[in-house]
Symmetry: C2
Subunit: 341 residues, 2 copies
DNA sequence: CGCTAGAATGTAAACGCTTACATTTATAAA
DNA sequence: TTTATAAATGTAAGCGTTTACATTCTAGCG
């Protein structure tokens, strides 16, 4: 593999000049530039990125940590980030935290050991305190789907409370009054915000929160099934179930179907995230859109601005969810509405 | 950030000794090792990976190129690869080809410019010739989901022909005789192999291939819909549709449903890939399993063996698909079977 | 034609490690 | 004890860049 030294010899110039040509830095006469370029071409020269990074102390890499790599959210996220970074000649170094506190911390260590110029973090398991404590130990970093006091400017988040509100509100609007809720793990901020939105919607409609109708899940399909079954077993007049994510919703959908409840005429079902396959379901799932791709692009903007000094890039921190009304939700059954008069 | 030099000073030893402790290479007295370790701890020392790689000419990074980053296949793939590599202290450098020949080539250039020790390639768009020509220009590389003559040992592939055979065979077994097929792009090897398997199954059952019933798609959902509609519009006595992947199958499913055909009693539907959400559909999709995770792990084995000289790792090149029988396929309608007597 | 300011190019010192080789120190046999 | 041998440690030369600074051109002016 050719080195810069061989290029300089072949072109009859010094190392510095070759370097200048490569980086478009400093002044180089056109004729000289051409000679250098020719030599590079001829030798099929590829700069050694390690030497570059070692000498310049920058890697043109931004580390991306996702809490897990499968799941539709992350595919979209990675695609958006990768595309956007390439556009600016930067590269993504991706690591997976596999949904585990220790592994997430290790992945952060890995990324920072690779001298990333900046980090984009999508972490679930790590605590706010830990992240705050990393502020001065890591390269500049932004976070996706988190809102942490004291570093709000570094958080690209979704207004989860509002999303939770929208989901339940859409049901209330359609006459539902007995709405069960399957939440995410309450120690996670997004999960509790979604639930808070649900509660607010209820209150707004003058309904009292019935604690028997709120179940805490873990965002996984089987739990959606299990808790939906639990809800049905209550034998209360529930006419709608809101799930804190689409995964649990699909689990719930299956149980409802197997127990011969027709969605949405007997019972409405609403999810959250607007995962790709939510529109493949039958009935198509009503859900709340989580604009991952937009948020990811915004994270890249942040990085470009903060770590690479690019200008004129708008950064927006909080994104708005949106209700995607599809087939799985509809008006409350008439009988039930009557009963509530 | 502390350097090896400061560590060596604090520990009262030479650079070489510190390096030896870090890499467990050479002999170091226990007492010395301890001193060094203490010093590292005390200084919160993190080796500079660029300097390491520059000096040692290895990066401990394996480049992974996926043709695209979204889609369930790739999530599973990346998770498996990442997990497995970590187990051996190696890291994955991931790049996305975004399903485009030029971009895939660029991504390869990127990965090789980052001095990866080895590459795992999942590429669709690049030609066999190109890949063959890269044999001596790149670090050792394996490919997933490709079978190329002249580099069979570097290919981890699925027996797609057999998978195609299984899909159609399962239908023939159940009395179907008019089976339509929606294929993938025929210039892609996997797509044409799947179709070949379909044809073989037909032949085996003494049926002639009806060209009117074979449509070429592009593996995307809307195309599945469009072609399923085209099949129905034929007004031929089709009792089953085989799709070359689950994406197109879900598109087809939607059209069948909207035209009031009941699956599987009126018409059976079979997919391919066993994508995660294929079991979320209603009815649950019968499909052919594509063991991505297993294959990915195998690719890692190859890398560990060829690039890092690890021993005792089995490498298997061809994987067998398996029929996953679910709800979307069933016996041919009786009327139809009678007609065929 | 000499002079000077800039432009263009060159020189050489980092960057932080690894590693072949040299040197010192410990171990054990004689 | 010596002495031979092995173990432990140290020395210093790279690895392939970038970049501050030094030097040499070049062009335009008086």
């Amino acid at each position: 593999m050719a080195t810069i030294y061989e290029v300089s010899k072949l072109a009859g110039v010094s190392l510095a000049t070759v370097s200048r040509v490569m980086n478009n830095s400093g002044k180089v006469r056109d004729a000289t530039r051409r000679k250098v370029l020719d030599a590079m071409e001829q030798l099929d020269y590829q700069p050694n990125s390690f030497a570059q990074s070692l000498a310049s102390n920058r890697s043109n890499c931004v580390g991306v940590l996702v809490s897990e790599m499968h799941g539709p959210i992350f595919g979209e996220m990675l695609t958006a980030i990768d595309t956007e970074l390439h556009r600016s000649g930067k590269f993504a170094l991706i690591a997976g935290g596999h949904n585990d506190e220790e592994k997430e911390a290790e992945a952060i260590r890995f990324l920072s050991s690779r001298n990333c110029d900046a980090l984009i973090l999508h972490v679930e398991a790590l605590s706010n305190e830990f992240l705050l404590s990393m502020l001065d130990r890591l390269p500049p970093f932004v976070m996706i789907n988190r809102e942490i006091e004291g570093m709000a400017d570094r958080c690209i988040s979704l207004d989860n409370e509002h999303g939770g509100y929208l989901a339940t509100h859409s049901l209330l609007e359609q006459g539902h009054t007995h709405i069960a809720y399957i939440s995410g793990p309450q120690e996670w901020a997004d999960a509790s915000a979604r639930l808070a939105g649900h509660n607010r919607a209820l209150t707004e409609f003058g309904l009292e929160l019935d604690e028997r109708l709120v179940f805490e899940g873990d965002y996984l399909v089987p739990t959606g099934s299990r808790l939906a079954a639990a809800i049905l077993d209550l034998e209360l007049p529930v006419t709608a179930i809101v799930c804190a994510n689409d995964e649990m919703a699909v689990g719930a959908m299956e149980v409802l179907r197997s127990r011969k409840h027709v969605i949405p005429s007997d019972i409405s079902l609403v999810g959250y995230d607007n995962v790709r396959w939510s529109s493949f379901l039958n009935p198509k799932l009503t859900t709340v859109n989580y604009p991952v791709a937009d948020m990811s692009r915004m994270a890249v903007n942040w990085v470009l601005k903060q770590a690479y000094g690019e200008e004129g890039l708008p950064v927006r921190n909080v994104f708005e969810p949106e209700l995607i009304r599809r087939e799985s939700s509809g008006p409350a059954p008439v009988a039930d509405r009557m009963a509530n008069l």
